[in-house]
């Protein structure tokens, strides 16, 4: 099999991001501190141009390239565009935070772009090795970003934990892949999927599958492999937490789709059960433990765990409706998470992180508009209509009820109600309590613009969810 020049056309967005990231890295060396904003604007321009490129170059149908290691299908286009938008928001929110703390360095944006490239590769990978490459590119960038504020003890600690556990998870995943290779004789996803039906030792395959599921659960942060999530979320600088907590969830969805659904589709009976346990545990633990938190970033970390449980439920349904529901969930969750962490950044200033729940006390008195936006986000995470979080949950519930898993739906909604408590407690803190903080909130135009658009998008998608739902369900076969 030879590689044709036309195949490069599919990869233009990836090549563009790679080139720009390298260029920005070099160019940044020649900029002095006052010109650093050029790096920022260039990075943002890169992200925006990538959106345009991906959109313009998209072709209907499924295309394989590079001897089947790369795939361009409708799902990958949608997921990539969602990732770009979230990364754009993440960069936007990060700027002032970093400036105020003397962390405004070119490396942050270069690492961010490389992480985005990693996610793009993950989304478009069609070969176990490509998947692994994308995943590692993403993970390595994230480790470095967590440690970005290297003088802070908590950051280094978080980075260390993240790195050790992340490396362990990668090892698990790789080990699983190697066993799958042993059982099926290939790393190519379409070949694996063909061979799983006729494999000689199905038990070996199951053995490999277990490791794959463990690795994926680690990366997703699902119980019982969730230990790193709260520590990393709390320890990392807020813009990095925002970055980790949002876009990679979309990429992780793609990862699960490629690894479990597309290659191991024949073993659905086996991974369905494993994921069911993981999902139910995530919902239970995430929602219950979040109640006890006093740190907002940590609370949102546990909330992420529960949302991951929800995301997995759609996969568990094992139907294209279910996958579409998960896809919708991952995209909208990334949007909500970006908004919520963005709000922490908005309220923070030099020497004040605003990451305690109590820092939001009486926000309605201090700044009603921010309180309103945060309220939308919280109700959306709780799944109260008319916000998009409701449709995300509705969608997933519908998919599992279609499969007659009504008991699972019952458990899910029960824990959602428990989860609603800590979200509405945030609303309570903002609206019913008296402010403790008295310093005025510095208003920055682009930051305000970002959180406003972000939160109103959550509301808007809640009023008119039809088109995004349609996009998700038509891109999946």
């Amino acid at each position: 099999m030879s590689i044709e020049a036309s195949e490069f056309r599919l990869l233009i967005p990836e090549i563009f991001v790679l080139t720009m990231a390298c260029l920005i890295l070099i160019m940044d060396l020649f900029l002095d501190k006052r010109q650093r904003h050029i790096t920022y604007y260039l990075s943002q321009a890169t992200v925006l141009l990538t959106i345009v490129l991906t959109f313009v170059l998209k072709e209907p149908g499924v295309h394989l390239a590079f001897t089947g290691t790369y795939i361009a299908d409708p799902m990958s286009v949608v997921l990539k565009i969602a990732i770009y938008i979230i990364v754009f928001l993440a960069f936007l929110y990060s700027r002032y935070y970093l400036e105020l703390r003397g962390l405004f360095k070119g490396e942050y944006y270069v690492l961010g772009l490389f992480a985005m490239l990693g996610m793009m590769i993950m989304v478009s990978a069609h070969h176990m090795l490509t998947i692994y490459l994308g995943l590692e590119l993403l993970s390595l960038c994230l480790y470095a970003m967590v440690a970005f504020n290297r003088d802070a003890y908590s950051c280094s600690e978080a980075a260390m934990k993240y790195f050790v556990l992340g490396a362990l998870a990668s090892g698990m995943l790789l080990y699983g892949m190697s066993i799958i290779y042993g059982a099926t004789g290939s790393l190519d996803i379409s070949v694996i999927s063909l061979n799983t039906a006729t494999v000689e030792h199905p038990r070996v395959l199951t053995f490999g599958l277990v490791f794959l599921v463990v690795g994926l659960a680690f990366k997703l942060g699902a119980v019982p492999f969730h230990m790193w999530v709260p520590d990393v979320y709390q320890g990392a600088p807020t813009p990095v937490t925002l970055f980790i907590g949002s876009a990679p969830k979309i990429a992780a969805f793609a990862l699960v789709m490629r690894v479990l659904v597309e290659s191991m589709g024949n073993l659905i009976d086996q991974w369905q059960d494993m994921l069911t346990i993981i999902a139910v545990l995530s919902l239970a633990l995430g929602n219950v433990v979040a109640i006890a938190q006093t740190n907002l970033k940590r609370m949102l970390a546990y909330s992420t765990i529960s949302h991951v449980g929800f995301l997995l439920l759609g996969i568990i349904a094992g139907t294209s409706n279910g996958y579409a529901a998960s896809m919708f969930y991952s995209i909208t969750y990334a949007l909500m998470a970006a908004g919520a962490f963005g709000m922490i950044i908005v309220l923070s200033r030099a020497g004040f992180e605003a990451d305690k729940i109590d820092d939001f006390k009486g926000l309605n008195e201090r700044h009603p508009w921010y309180a309103f936006l945060m309220m939308i986000l919280m109700f959306s995470m709780a799944g109260v209509p008319p916000t998009v979080g409701f449709y995300a949950k509705l969608n997933v519930l519908q998919a599992i009820i279609e499969q007659d898993m009504i008991w699972l739906a019952g458990i899910t909604v029960f824990f959602s109600v428990i989860g609603a408590f800590y979200y509405i407690r945030m609303v309570k803190i903002m609206y019913f309590d008296d402010p403790v903080e008295t310093q005025p909130i510095a208003s920055r135009f682009d930051l305000d613009f970002g959180v406003t658009i972000n939160s109103l998008a959550v509301l808007f998608l809640g009023l008119f969810p039809g088109w995004l739902l349609a996009v998700c369900s038509t891109t999946l076969p």
């Binding site: 109260v384 209509p385 449709y391 519930l397 909604v413 609303v427 019913f432 039809g466």
Partner: protein, 505 residues
Amino acid sequence: MTEWPLLNLIIWTPILGGFLVLFLSDNDRVNPRPVALAVAMITFLLSLLLYTGFDNSTANMQFQEQYNWIPVFNITYHLGIDGISMPLIILTTFTTVLVVLAGWEVIKKKPGQYLASFLIMEGLMVGVFSALDAMLFYVFWEGMLIPMFLIIGIWGGPNRVYATIKFFLYTFLGSVFMLIALIYMQTKAGSFEVLDFHLLKLNMKEQILIFIAFLLAFAVKVPMWPVHTWLPDAHVEAPTGGSVILAAIMLKIGGYGFLRFSLPITPDASRELDWLIIFMSLVAVVYIGFVALVQSDMKKLIAYSSIAHMGFVTLGFFLLFPIMENTGGADLSGAVMGMEGGMIQMISHGFISGALFLCVGVLYDRMHSREIGDYGGVVNTMPIFAAFMVFFAMANSGLPGTSGFVGEFMIILASFKANFWFAFLAATTLILGAAYSLWMVKRVVFGDIGNEEVAKLTDVTAREKLILGTLAVAVLALGLWPAPLQEVMRASVENLVSFISISKL
């Protein structure tokens, strides 16, 4: 006239008006009150067009509007009303006008947000009553929680945070199981149309489970014993306007849910489990009546009396099944009477409980106490107010000539056709209701002036007279001449009863 998107106007005028009020009041230069009142009045007048344009002769949905909303799931934006929902919509718009007036001078803290919450909630509640798509219904139903949560939490009493979180979680827990039932039926019926659900064939096991899911949602909302405990807390802590909306409309949404969902969708399960509802209703009437008797807090007393009265409503709705059993399904007039009685009781309770909460509000604004013990001899300083309060308390205990009598009487008559003991227990309300209402009045209004604070009270202002006077007229009108209301709902109720009487199995 019918070409107008009238229902849409009634839903969106207050919601958009609410946001307008919110933005206008942002810089404190504009007084939000007249704007809010204008929005509420316009909405009320628009809703009167529903009455004038309503066709009494048919049970079909009227004023229908349908737009594509979420085509992927076959969810449409489908509105329409019949004789059951129309009176409730007018009740909603009417009460909101009074609530806006009631908060005129009293609410000092962020009046713009306060009024905006009520207006937005008004739109959402009208949406609940007019949605014909189950998912649209659910969106309005849940969306309604947000403004109410804020109203109790921001403008409520000292223990408001506990009360509002309890309120939110109770109702949220109840409704998520309804969501599962709705989704389940969608997978069977292919759409979320409520009218399709009515025709959907379900076997007994499915019906029972769906009925229980609905019961969880509606019983919490009504609220029925034993899931009523959030209501006294919420009522006591809510500001006057919040209590009025809660009692007058929110509770009715639970009752409405039984009529629109539980009974027609799961008639056989309803027949099978009618004893449960009747038992819970009678417990509410008798036991909660006794509980109301011993309350020392006026708002709590009225809250418990609300639960007892709503017990009457659910009793009236479910009398249908024992009556059908007794008459072998031949004579449905008793069943129609019970259900109509329940509907009238809902409307009447909306007026009376709202009026009583406003009365307490009048006293609370002056004395900042809801304790019965802090009052005594109010009649000496506030004679006009005393007249109103006595009148509404009489209406609450079901005095003939007031609206409270009509519904209760019809339900008691209907329950005689079902079972003597039902009627006997239900009739205790005539004694208990009179006891707790009048005893409260005796302790608060009559007697010698209790203390110096009471001696300093001033009588109702023109604004308060207007509010209470309007309600008094409404209570009297409905009590003396309920025929217009009955005519409006007759066709729909008869159709519903005959629909339920046919088994789905």
